[in-house]
Structure formats: structure tokens, C-alpha cells
Amino acid sequence: MELGRGAVALATDPADDAAVDSLTLQGLTKRYGDVVALDGLDLEVPGGELFGFVGRNGAGKTTAMRIILGVLAADAGEVRFGGTPLTFEARRRIGYLPEERGLYPKMRLADQLAYLAQLHGMAPTAARVAAATWLERFGLAARARDDLQGLSLGNQQRVQLAAALVFGPNLLVLDEPFSGLDPVAVDVMSAVLREQADAGLPVIFSSHELELVERLCDRVAIIDRGRVVAHGTVAELRAGAPERRWVGAPNAPVHWGEGIPGTHLISRENGRMLFEIDPGADDQALLQAALATGPVREFHRVEPSLGEIFRTVLEEDGT
């Protein structure tokens, strides 16, 4: 399963001067029959960065991750790590949490993790120690000698993450690591991901829990129909989104607010109105108009949530 067949090495390859340990996806394309799963996906995740990958179901997140891991071959495009195309040996250093969880049901946790660590190239003793360490970290030390199948789904999920981390990866690729976790486990998982990123690894994960992504990630990519439609820090994504203002003017007439230049009325509730300010327009004009109706009890700027940005971006993408 070789990647990069048909890929063209461009002279202006951004990976050339990228940080040594950054992950670069370039022009990834994958079709399943008539369905286009990836349509020239470009992405770069520097080392030390926690990178959120969001998009609707079927947008291509899992396909992209499988291609990074080499369990799926791209039709075109290239995956680079540290500036060079990912080889089979380099891929063995990727910690992977697949979308569909899977470990041996009838194998003891400690044996299983140590086995996987050895497959990734660890020495037997080091593998045993690492397995014990990660089980301890996830609060499963007491279950080390139990078979996986006896564990609750949440605990199986922790073991699955431990399997991705046990051999000390150079890069983490996690498909929906937070699904099915209780709030405590979410905190543990968040702390571990942050810690791995702080240790210098590029950490890329997908999630539908946008509040979590917003809180946790250094940068976010929104993908739709196999392409990146927006990416940057959450603040950068916000900067691209239209400004919004809540206006509380209790004496305003019923139909007030419509047709004020440079604004759109979005919603109205209990004498409060939400306006969207057109790019470049002056919010002071809106305030003046509001004052003209009587007292203004409220006038404040709204930060759009990642969820709102996500919906806006997808609307602009034409769906």
C-alpha cells in the first residue's frame, strides 16, 4: 500500500521549509466508485499543536485519517511527516485510534498493550513497563490481568487510547476520541492530548463535540465534501465570521430593526434583537438607531461559537 502514486512534487512544496516534525497532507484525493471521499485535501499540522478536525458525517475525516495511517491508499496526493513522504517505517510511529474501535476481546489488558507496543518496535521489558504505566494513568491498573471483553465500553475506550499511546508515538491520529466517554474520562483524555501536544507531537483528532474542540484545540479545520473549507485558530475563524450584536431596546416598535443600513436582523426575543453587521459596516450606526427608539439597556458583541461558525461555513459552501 504505497501512497503518493501519481503525486507531483511541486517546487514550491510548503513542506520543504516546514518544521521537522509537522504533518502535511497535500492534494489527497480518494474516490469510492462515483463517490468522492477526498477532493484534493490540503492540511498542515505542526508539531506541538492540538489540531481539531471537524465536518459532517461523510465529509472525509475518517478517510483522510486512514490514508495518513496507510491502511487506505490515496488515489492521488501525498502525506509528509517532517518534510519527507511517510514511509512504512515512519508510519509505525503513529499512534492511531480508529473510528471503529478494535482490540482482541479475549486477551488480558497488560498482555495486549505490551504486545502492541512490541509490534511498534519496543523491547519486551520496556513494553511491559509502558503497558503498566498507561493502565495506571487511565485508572485500569487493577484490571490489568482481565480480558478486554469484561470491561465497560468506556473503559474499553480508555484501553484503546492507551494502545495508541503505549509505544511513545511521534504523531497522534485520533478518530473521535471523545465519543462514548463520561465527563471524567473526557477530562482525562483532554489532559492527555494536551500533554502529548505540549511534548512536541502533532496531535490531530476529529470530533463532533464542537464546544470541546473550541476549548481544546490550537487550530481547527472544517472539512466538507473532501476539502478544507476553513481552517485556523478559533479566533481566526471568528474573525472571518460576521460580527453580531445583541441590542436591548424595550421601547422599540414591533417592526423596528429591519432595514437599518449595514445590518441584518437575525432574531428577536423579549425586546432583545440580534443583528449581524455586514463586513466593513459601522456598529455605531446601529447604536444610534437604537437610541432613537428610547433607552438602550443592552448593546454587546457576540462571539460566534465554533458551532455557529461551522454552520455558517457550510452554508457558504453551498449546502
Binding site: 512504512f88 509505525r92 504486545y115 509490534l119
Partner: protein
């Protein structure tokens, strides 16, 4: 970091081996098989002890009692075991023959006796009786018993046959029993360990652990490690059973034939390895097309058919192991592991036949590894509906 391919195959194989050795099939199965063999050998020993030739019971009436000594000596001289007794009269003797407590009643006169039997008279008994009558007549005619004995002694005709039948092999039945046993054990082991491979392939697919494994190792390494590990478990189990059988056979002296010796056991192990590689590789290929354990048996059925056919053919090969049909089927790769072992156990396989069968199966295994490896690599990550064989081959 090189992470050598060999050490990965070793890791995978070791996991499979440990898993099988810890499993119930291995521990209980090995023990049960040894117990069955011990029971079989005990039965054979008891049955063999009672089937020693029994003496033919011959009764003489008072009128023919003079024939007794001569008859006994001639019968014994001819190697026939007889026990001679006197009966009260012809009626009582006939009743004994009818009841089955006597085999032959000799009545009438010493010069013209009548032998009363239930159905037929043993030819050796008849000859001994005839010579005894001849001796009686010659004595009656005036010759001294000593001269009669001297004249009759050594009357023997040398036989010169133009198309001699091969000498009956006294070990034939032992060899056949060994052959049938070897066939059964090989069939069972190949079927069992082959199905372990199929189940293991689907288990990894069904639990989706393949996606993690194939992120770090190659499909060929995973497949090779699995087949080697499970195969080693099979070799180990067969070796234990074979060693136990050898010890039991030697302790009971039930058979001492080449078919049951340490050297021939090694040959059967080689046939197990070849048969296992042949079937396990094919099983792995077809099993990788399905995603659920329930579908394993229907996926492997088209291949299992050949193994069953090999076992069924044992009943054709055993009665005539040297025949043309037996020779041909025992050389064909799907059948050779079982049928050639049978013909080697009976001593009918020639060196060139064994050599040809081994060459053919090794070539077939090489081809299967390529074919099944390709199917496996192309379909092992494919979930859901059963993958089509042709798509898997093309890598679509």
C-alpha cells in the same frame, strides 16, 4: 529504526502459539486423543489374544479308536492343532457335533471310517485321517507297523509354482490399522488447525483490530505469523499424541511394524505441515472476504470439500493401496497429505511417487500463498458485505 520483518512475524506467531497452547482444544483435545488411543490399543490387544487358532475337536467311537494315535501324530506333524477324545457311540457323537461341542466325529470301521461334521471337513484333518486309515489297512495286510511308518515317512511333494502369489504379509492388518489411524489423525488436525486460521483471520477483521495492526505491520507479516504460530501448535499437539502412541505401542508390543516408528512419525509430521500450509493458506484467503464469524464456515466450505474428499478416498485407497487409482489420487496436492501417508503406512508408496507428490504440493502451496496473500491484503480492511473474490484478486 528498522523493526525487522522477521521479528514481527515472530511476535505474531508467538502470540498465536501461546493462545492455542492455553486453549481448551489443545489441553483437553490432546489428553482425550491419547486416552482414545490407549483404549483402542487395549481393545486390539484383548481381541488379538482371543483370536489364536483353537484346536479342532475330533471324537472317535470305540470302533475307530484304533485310528486315534496315528491320526494325532499325522495331524500334529502337518501343523494342525487337534484335540482327540472318545465318545460313547455314534449317536452320542452325532449329537455332540450337532450341539457344537465336537467338530468331527469319526465313526464306522478303521478301514473305512465316516467323518461326521456340521458342514465341511478341514482338509488337514481329512489328510491326517486318510493316512491313518492307509496305515491301518497296510498293517492289517500284514506289514509291521514299523515298516509302514518307514514307508510313509517323508512322503512329501515339492511344489513349483509358475506364477507364485506374493507371500502373505503377516503384518498387513497392523499396517492397515496404522494407515487408517494416521489418515484420521491427519484429517482431524488439518481440519481443526486450518479452521483456527480462518477463525483468527475473521476475528481480527470482525473486532477491527486489523486497522491498528496494519497501521504498524504489513498484511503479509500478520498472515505469515498467524499461519506459523497456529501451525506450530498443531505440530506440537501431533508430536505429543504421536510420542504417546509410540510409547503405548512399545509397552504393549501390539504391533512392531515400520508404520509405527519414530522415523515414520516424522514423515507424517512433514505431511501434516504440508497439508496444513495448503489448507490454512487457502482458508485464510477466503476467510478474509467475510467480516463475521457466522460466515466463516460458508466461506471455507468450497475448500473444506477437498479435505473431506481426501478423507472419503481413504476408503478407496486402503483396500487397494498399490492400485492405479490409489496411486494417482495420492499424488494430487489436495489429497496427498492424507492419502500418501496412508500408502506410506501400508508400505505401497514408492520413492518417486512420494517425491512427485511433495514437489506438486510445495508448488501448489507457493501458488496459494501468492494468491491468498493477495486476496487477504486486498480484503482484510474491507468491512460489511462479503467481498467478491474477483474484486479482491484485482485489488479493486
Amino acid at each position: 529504526m528498522t523493526g525487522g520483518g522477521r521479528s514481527i512475524i515472530y511476535l505474531v506467531a508467538r502470540r498465536e502459539l501461546q493462545k492455542r497452547l492455553g486453549g481448551r482444544v489443545f489441553r483437553v483435545g490432546t489428553l482425550a486423543m491419547i486416552v482414545l488411543i490407549a483404549i483402542g490399543i487395549t481393545i486390539a490387544k484383548v481381541a488379538g489374544g482371543s483370536s489364536a487358532p483353537s484346536a479342532i475337536r475330533v471324537g472317535f467311537t470305540s470302533t475307530t479308536a484304533t485310528l486315534e494315535p496315528a491320526f494325532s501324530s499325522w495331524a500334529t506333524g502337518a501343523g494342525t492343532l487337534v484335540s482327540v477324545s472318545d465318545v460313547a457311540d455314534a449317536a452320542a457323537g452325532t449329537a455332540e457335533v450337532t450341539a457344537g461341542t465336537l467338530d468331527v466325529l469319526v465313526t464306522g470301521s478303521p478301514s473305512a471310517p465316516v467323518a461326521v461334521v456340521k458342514d465341511t471337513l478341514d482338509t488337514d484333518v481329512q489328510s491326517a485321517l486318510s493316512v491313518a486309515v492307509l496305515e491301518a489297512r497296510l498293517t492289517a495286510a500284514g506289514l509291521t507297523p514299523a515298516s509302514v511308518a518307514a514307508a510313509l515317512a517323508g512322503t512329501h511333494v515339492d511344489v513349483q509354482s509358475l506364477a507364485p502369489a506374493p507371500p502373505a504379509d503377516p503384518e498387513r492388518s497392523g499396517k492397515l490399522a496404522a494407515a487408517i489411524f494416521v489418515a484420521f489423525l491427519l484429517y482431524l488436525s488439518i481440519a481443526l488447525y486450518g479452521s483456527f486460521v480462518a477463525q483468527g483471520v475473521v476475528e481480527e477483521k470482525a473486532t477491527r483490530i486489523v486497522e491498528i495492526l496494519l497501521g504498524t505491520i504489513r498484511p503479509s507479516q500478520l498472515l505469515a505469523g498467524k499461519i506459523i504460530g497456529i501451525g506450530l501448535a498443531g505440530v506440537l499437539q501431533l508430536s505429543i499424541i504421536a510420542a504417546a502412541t509410540l510409547v503405548l505401542v512399545q509397552q504393549t508390543h501390539i504391533v512392531s511394524i515400520p508404520a509405527v516408528s519414530a522415523g515414520s512419525v516424522l514423515v507424517y509430521l512433514v505431511w501434516f505441515v504440508l497439508g496444513f500450509l495448503f489448507y490454512a493458506t487457502a482458508y485464510a484467503g477466503v476467510a478474509s472476504l467475510v467480516s463475521r464469524q457466522e460466515d466463516v464456515s460458508s466461506a471455507t466450505a468450497p475448500i473444506y470439500i477437498f479435505l473431506i474428499a481426501a478423507y472419503v478416498l481413504v476408503s478407496i485407497v486402503v483396500p487397494d493401496p498399490g492400485g492405479t487409482v490409489s496411486t494417482v489420487v495420492s499424488i494430487l496436492p489436495p489429497f496427498a497429505p492424507i492419502l500418501m501417508s496412508v500408502r506410506m503406512a501400508t508400505g505401497d508408496a514408492t520413492a518417486w511417487q512420494v517425491g512427485l507428490a511433495i514437489v506438486l504440493i510445495v508448488v501448489s502451496i507457493a501458488g496459494l500463498i501468492w494468491l491468498a496473500g493477495r486476496i487477504y491484503s486486498n480484503s482484510i480492511l474491507r468491512l460489511g458485505a462479503r467481498a467478491r473474490l474477483l474484486d479482491a484478486l484485482r485489488g479493486k
